[in-house]
Amino acid sequence: MGGEGRVKINVYVGEPDEDSEPVVFTEALVVEPTVVSYRANIISHDSIGVNTLASIPDSFGVANIILRQAGGALEQSSNTADGNVMLLKEQNANDDQIIDLSYAYFIYSSELALTRAVSDGNEGRTLSINYIPNLLQLSFIESFDKNPARAGYRETHQETPQGEIDIACRVI
């Protein structure tokens, strides 16, 4: 077997026979499960203190229940190589600025604007802390200056760099 397929599910009232018409049908996609590896970081600052967000592993469990609908799961990367510390070095980093919590890296930044009220202009700088190329980076900050969350950076879609799908809907 293998591959992916579209499945139609007919729902009947009672025991159907050859003349029965479904009262409703629904559809699903059968897909191979896929994994999205990630590296998680918690960006903090002296004025915020040690909030290690201990419930994050549970939250990833919740996220995976949701993403299971798409046949996907988030999985912490096994890649423990040192990430980008360029920004931290600019801040005269010391060895204890990156702490491995096993479920995330806890990182002190001496620049408060990289974790509190993060602005558009600072998103890339914040995300760059401890990043590894081509690995999904999920970095937790205290707050944005505007929205509760914003998406950062994406790779090109497999089929087109930006695109659209046309669908036709008709009441049946």
């Binding site: 419930s55 939250s59 914040t126 659209e164």
Partner: protein, 135 residues
Amino acid sequence: MSSNLSGDSISESYKTSLNDTFDENINHTLDFEGVLSDTRYNSMFGVLLAWSKVENKYDMGQLIAHEVAHAMNALHRYGNTDDEWDGLESQQNGMLLGPAGSNLLDYGNPGDLGGTDIDLLQIRILRASPIQNDE
């Protein structure tokens, strides 16, 4: 991307959310995000998530799934935002109409997260993302 989802019979699985009016004989276009990069950082991608306004681990799980979906090229569906949207719900004056519905990509008013549903079209988008199986 060519459509392999078009057809003359579409089930309610293709409803975009509880807010969807399921229009008759209307062709919809689903838009999705393109590449977004910061040229200062080679092959960096991911999202930032703010923890201070998230009340519990369940809401944080929803937020993680929502933002990861953006990182996998999905756009907002419905809700009170002037951000870009995927084009399947009605907007007014450049704003999507709130409050958030049942879809994962709905965007809630402050303190009102979206839902958890992912429809079949969004699944196509997510599964075409290149960020899977990178190890």
